[in-house]
Symmetry: C2
Subunit: 433 residues, 2 copies
């Protein structure tokens, strides 16, 4: 560990305020509180400006001054900087006039926001000298650790619940990572990983590297602010699994305000969960400052964390901003996926269906005003969770390659597409030549 | 059609040199040659500079001065500008020291290079006033037309071979596009679309809008040159279906040379096909200036065009540069997918497996020198064609969430991952609390 890097950031216990320098450690040995990375913002001030960011590369490394990246680390991959798109067509459908979608369904390299946290975690894994890295995962994290670690020449061992979606399993194994399926849900897997991290000399991105890892999520917040022209939105709607992402977006906004880069203003944070795994939204709705763990049962497996580590903190934070949390059924999740695809051309996974359906509900219930500037955070790609959509679309008969046949088919199937009337009917010659 | 746009570019017949202004037309009525967009490079010269490009957005619209975009068109989506990554680990495996991968597997919005051509085509479809757009497709184009058209409020009717991969069908229907499955292969579908475009008033991106559409592929070439620091590589390895992309990369390089933005140098072009559909590589290997159509039979369905429109031109172009074309078996394609994933963390579809396997073969055969600067063009995402990989990875038993069980499993399964010895074995409490 280089001394100089400690002058800019280090791990701190949020309870007893003790500092730990930079080490692979997840919690304060005294308070057991999860450690957080704290920056010396004064030393960053001169080096993180709108101009310095604009001059940086079009990826998360443009924000490196506010990321815990060891001195001298050369970022390898152009991760992140995903589109923020104005969602007028979705807005029209759900009664919103100023709605944006942050689209991490196309995040580089593995199509989810987890690429951001993994990039930061692995930079530290290399710095601390780990040869093997690992994670517990509901899928997206597995994909990202597998892909990024192989590119860096690190070996990976990844633990997942045994019932994970086939595409997420394949999209881990294809990179050559060791995948271990654990009998149980994510919470079982995660507790096992805590023991493994203690036992072997492995760098677990979301265990002993977690404080660094979690900071990567801030880049979603930086990008939103920058892409809005360096201003904050009125509302953020964000999916919640462990409860970390929504908190880190808030932290990103707070840092930008502290540095004088954006104007301070109230931002309400809204959390989105599946009803089948809704410990945080349940807590928010009841005004609690703790959560009651649940046994997950939902198609949104990437959000299926029944005992979320940052759940209590997320619940309190949401309430403190005047926001809210909502949850939606599996049927609503599938409708949310379709709604976002049909209106904005964005195909998201089940977690994004949750966020979209919750966003719609928040507008419908008047919890978000129709003209408020709202950003809905889409975190993963629909190609990873296709199962819930299978059978949603009628399989129509195949049509012979002749104009007359096509015309007849279209008239019976969707005549509204025909704007002119077919007069001539020409036969096609078969064969491939 | 605005007059002013015609002053910068217009359709021209490459045979008789007749100009057509800007109209939805694919071929010269006299020569039947496919029309091409020609620019008044002199009028572009002052407006397309390294500086103007650098000041543009991080997407294909930074090159808009060399794209056929109607005057006043406001680009909607941040398409393209995908990573060019140095592929040292893949290079080491295949004996290359200066190899790059252009990664359109993460192209926005639908994860293939087709997003580029569709963005340009739909800008023109809107300009010409089409309400319905369509295409014939082997999958990626279908996905992109469906996603981008719905975002623009256009209706889409998309024709595909009836045996297309399920993920590509789902990833078209989810956007609400009309999908029509045609009995036959791509060549049947494509010929039918030519008739449909004449019959209905639809804008077919790869029929009557094809000259504009095809220009979008040039952005792959611009990006490669810019990402290399405004210089040209020694070699391009590019997959070939219709044969258009490889030609347009060459056109992009030629324009950059003509504008004085990059230094002129010989660039060899290498085409990649699946042996099961290799009309262009067959032509190159035989030194022909024409192609012999084939009946496709390969898992690389996105390349399965047996009678490629630009095949003869591509074959001649490749030969004229001193390049070559190769083709690989289905088994080699799957190995290529795995090789790229295991080394660079990039999961590509079957077409990318073709390109990677052909790249390896070209180095092995000495057709590409080991130190030459080579760019291998990856055009689509692996999540779209998972079938060929199913069964490639042994499904190991699920492990109980206890450290002792995990340790035993790892010792029997991959003991090399254990760097320290597990001494204590702690039992986990089951249940989710």
């Amino acid at each position: 560990m280089s001394e100089s890097s400690c002058t800019v950031y280090e791990l701190k216990c949020p309870e007893c305020k003790k500092g730990f320098g930079n080490v692979p450690l997840s919690a304060c040995p005294d308070c057991l509180a999860p450690l957080e990375v704290q920056y010396d913002l004064d030393s960053v001030r001169g080096r993180f400006t709108k101009e310095s960011v604009a001059a940086g590369p079009a990826n998360i490394w443009r924000y490196k001054e506010l990321l815990p990246i060891p001195e001298g680390h050369q970022p390898d991959l152009p991760v992140g900087f995903t589109p923020l798109v104005k969602a007028d067509r979705l807005g029209k459908r759900i009664g919103a006039t100023n709605l944006y979608v942050k689209n991490d369904a196309v995040c580089f390299p593995t199509l989810s926001f987890k690429d951001r946290v993994v990039a930061v975690a692995l930079a530290n894994a290399q710095h601390f000298g780990f040869d093997v890295v690992g994670c517990s995962s509901t899928g997206n994290l597995a994909n990202s650790v597998a892909a990024q670690s192989t590119r860096l020449g690190l070996r990976a061992c990844i633990l997942v619940p045994s019932d994970l979606e086939p595409a997420k399993i394949l999209n881990t194994q294809v990179y050559g990572a060791k995948l271990v399926r654990i009998e149980g849900n994510y919470d079982h897997v995660n507790r096992l990983c805590t023991l493994i991290a203690d036992e072997y000399k492995w760098g677990f991105v979301n265990v002993n590297l977690r404080p660094y890892y979690a900071e990567g999520s801030k880049t979603v917040g930086y990008e939103i602010a920058e892409q809005l022209g360096w201003r904050l939105p009125d509302n953020i709607v964000c999916p919640m699994a462990g409860g970390s992402l929504i908190r880190k977006i808030k932290k990103a906004f707070a840092e930008l305000v502290a540095l004088g880069i954006v104007e301070d203003k109230p931002v309400k944070f809204f959390g989105a969960q599946a009803t089948g795994c809704s410990p945080i939204s349940h807590s928010v709705k009841n005004g609690w400052d703790d959560i009651e763990p649940q046994r997950p049962n939902t198609i949104a497996r990437s959000l299926a964390i029944g005992n979320p580590a940052d759940g209590p903190a997320a619940s309190k934070m949401i309430q403190s901003t005047g926001g809210y949390a909502e949850d939606v059924s599996d049927v609503e999740i599938v409708s949310g996926i379709q709604e976002l695809a049909e209106t904005e051309g964005i195909f998201t996974e089940t977690a994004g269906g949750v966020t979209t359906a919750v966003t719609a509900k928040l507008y419908a219930d008047g919890r978000i005003g129709k003209d408020e500037l709202t950003v809905s955070v889409i975190t993963g790609n629909g190609l990873k969770t296709t199962d819930p959509l299978v059978g949603k679309f009628a399989e129509e008969r195949a049509v012979k390659p002749r104009l007359a046949e096509f015309d007849a088919f279209l008239r019976e199937s969707d005549a509204s597409l025909i704007t002119g009337v077919a007069e001539e009917e020409v036969e096609l010659v078969g064969g491939t030549k």
